[in-house]
């Protein structure tokens, strides 16, 4: 396991690439702040996870499959393309479009399973399919430090390693699973320590350091793509807010800001300023553009809800059509 804790450079990225990444980072953050302001109490905060989404999103291609989480999924999909701040505002108001589901014509995206852990064998199956097809596509699946302890993930990692599947397992370790702190949830000091147990290379990286995330993701994805098997990447950040807005945080109310070392956006902006890639005015200009997009989206979607449904109880036929693809068979005795 290699321990990568700091970035020494700008990742070999051009000025344009850095600006582009900043834009995605800022869009994810500002959209998040707007959603918090709008008061969606079921919202599962994405604060602090932005660099994970942007860093990884910047190294996968559209034929790679990602299975995003509710933490970094919006940043990830914004970075891959085809998902905007407006889309996220629309999603919060109407339920569509989701950053975590395949969009028509969009980059390959695997739907999440709300029981974190349960969906990881399925992602592993996608990688298995890619191997059988001789495709050079990679699958990247995400879960948290909490979900990481599910048995299904162990089995998936083992199958992936045994079969040298092209899959990257990303753990967004933010130190908390609702009220369970990481240190109490496992005896391991780092979840990257689990990699060698499967014969799988792994790394543990500062998830608030965008360049470091990108570099590590690049190595992980390249490894998986090479046919040499899976990779386990732990990205460590500090959970900023509660698990979900409606759930009280055992630590107390969320802080307005946190130390820059844990704030991926402030940190990257500082880096860009220090390296002369962007000026303070340019950074503000980006924020203003995004804010205007958000304002327009809120105006467009506020007051809208998901389409109202016929409230009558499902008939047998309707229930069948939801769950099955083959036609419902009407039966005489059922219709009497």
């Amino acid at each position: 396991m290699t321990d990568k804790t700091s970035s020494a450079d700008l990742g070999g990225l051009t000025s344009d690439q850095l600006r582009q990444m900043h834009r995605h980072l800022a869009a994810a953050r500002l959209a998040e702040l707007r959603v918090l302001e709008l008061g969606f109490i079921d919202h599962h905060s994405q604060m602090g996870h932005e660099a994970i989404g942007v860093g990884i999103g910047s190294v996968v291609n559209s034929t790679d499959m990602v299975q995003p989480t509710h933490r970094s999924g919006v940043a990830l999909s914004m970075t891959r393309g085809g998902y905007t701040a407006r889309d996220f505002i629309a999603f919060k108001h109407t339920g569509q479009p989701s950053a975590r589901h395949q969009q028509p014509g969009g980059p390959r995206t695997l739907f999440p399973i709300a029981l974190i852990g349960s969906g990881i064998p399925m992602a592993t199956g996608v990688a298995f399919a890619d191997k059988l097809k001789g495709s050079d596509a990679v699958t990247v699946t995400f879960f948290g430090d909490g979900g990481a302890n599910e048995g299904a993930i162990h089995e998936a990692m083992n199958i992936a390693s045994a079969n040298k599947l092209p899959i990257v397992f990303v753990v967004e370790n933010n130190g908390w699973a609702i009220s369970m702190p990481f240190e109490k949830s496992t005896g391991a000091k780092s979840l990257a320590d689990r990699g060698p147990g499967y014969g799988m290379p792994s790394a543990s990286v500062d998830g608030a350091d965008l360049i470091a995330v990108r570099n590590a993701a690049s190595e992980a994805v390249a490894h998986a793509r090479s046919g040499n098997g899976p990779y386990l990447l732990e990205l460590r950040i500090t959970r900023w807010r509660s698990h979900a807005e409606v759930i009280p945080d055992v630590r107390g109310p969320a802080p307005e800001s946190i130390d820059i070392s844990g704030d991926s956006v402030a940190r990257f902006e500082q880096l860009l300023l220090n390296e002369g890639v962007m000026t303070a005015e340019e950074l503000q200009s980006v924020r203003d553009e995004i804010t205007a997009e958000l304002d327009a989206a809120v105006t467009e979607f506020s007051g809208r809800t998901a389409p109202s449904l016929d409230s009558a109880f499902y008939t047998r036929e309707q229930a069948w059509q939801i769950a099955y693809s083959t036609p419902y068979t009407p039966m005489n005795w059922l219709e009497k």
């Binding site: 695997l110 064998p121 199956g125 059509q321 939801i322 005795w333």
Partner: protein
């Protein structure tokens, strides 16, 4: 054709027909399956289509779901139905719900094969293998919307229905009574596809309908033959598919005879034939001359060895139920 050979015949036919059909499980390749269900298949189709997995039911059942999303048609073999509980979450959370979780636009063409049950009839391999090697678990799946569940009771039905299951774009759980694996049944037409959702009148009669599943079908036929000598005319119905249930075939029979018995190997409480019984009571009440009787296993883990017969219904229980119902 032996019941297990019918399984292999169907898988082989579909694998020849469609290169996307895969077989995945424990010991399915060189071993040919613990019971021989896949003997020879790896030689014909290779290791990219007949795939051995480590002992990780949650892992490989979920992998099957991913393969199904990507254009493959995986047949997932559980080495025993009793082990399916290790992969249960993958079936009920992921496979059964994938379609509904995606606006009913996604297909999940997975077949899950479950060797279930104990040795019922004195034929076959498994004889009282104990509580963890003998269970009939279909009710775990009939209760989960999004799954189809079939229970072919003989080789002819197995060939025709297994092929339909493999071609079905929805997940199908195939209950294979492993005690019957070695049993020979007549098969008139190997190529006949039997649709999922269609029951069968196995034997005509006029005094009582016995709606039996799995190993209980031939036991019901034996009971019918025995009771014919006493002047009791028993009709035997095999639903063949549990979900979706062929209500018409069942109710037409009960309307004709006026008496119904449901019979299953599985434990009584919450068993699937209780669903059939409730359906009959709901739809055919005015035709009934007697309460619907249930023949089922005991509500207890099945003992090992010969003591298994204390927990699993046989001819005696079916005959008793018929006599009581007719005497009502």
């Amino acid at each position: 054709m032996r019941y297990i050979d019918a399984i292999r015949y169907a898988m082989q036919a579909e694998m020849r027909d469609d290169e996307k059909v895969l077989l995945i499980g424990l010991d399915v390749a060189e071993q040919g399956g613990l019971y021989g269900a896949s003997a020879g298949l790896v030689d014909e189709f290779g290791h990219d289509r007949v795939i051995d997995m480590p002992i990780s039911e949650a892992g490989y059942v979920g992998v099957g779901a991913g393969l199904a999303l990507e254009g493959f048609r995986p047949i997932l073999e559980l080495q025993m139905a009793d082990f399916v509980s290790v992969g249960f979450d993958q079936i009920t959370t992921v496979i059964a719900k994938a379609r509904a979780l995606n606006g009913s636009k996604l297909n999940m063409p997975v077949v899950i094969r479950l060797p279930y049950g104990a040795n019922m009839s004195g034929k076959g391999y498994m004889n009282g293998a104990g509580p963890l090697h003998s269970q009939s678990v279909e009710a775990w799946f009939t209760h989960t919307a999004g799954l189809k569940v079939i229970m072919p009771s003989n080789s002819a039905d197995m060939v025709g229905m297994m092929r339909s299951a493999i071609r079905d774009n929805d997940p199908v759980v195939v209950m294979e009574q492993k005690g019957m694996y070695g049993e020979d049944f007549e098969v008139d037409d190997l190529e006949a596809l039997i649709p999922i959702g269609k029951g069968k009148v196995v034997r005509e009669g006029s005094d009582v309908s016995v709606i039996a599943t799995g190993a209980l079908v031939e036991i019901a036929v034996s009971a019918a033959e025995e009771l014919a000598a006493e002047g009791i005319s028993v009709e035997v119905i095999d639903p063949r598919t549990l979900v979706p249930l062929d209500v018409d075939t069942i109710c037409d029979s009960v309307a004709k005879t006026g008496r119904a018995i449901v019979a299953q190997e599985a434990a009584l409480t919450g068993g699937f034939t209780s669903e059939i019984s409730a359906t009959i009571a709901e739809l055919c009440f005015d035709h009934l001359k007697a309460p619907v009787a249930r023949v089922a296993g005991a509500d207890a883990p099945i003992p090992a060895g010969p003591a298994a017969v204390k927990a699993i219904p046989g001819l005696i229980q079916v005959v008793d139920a018929i006599r009581k119902t007719v005497a009502h």
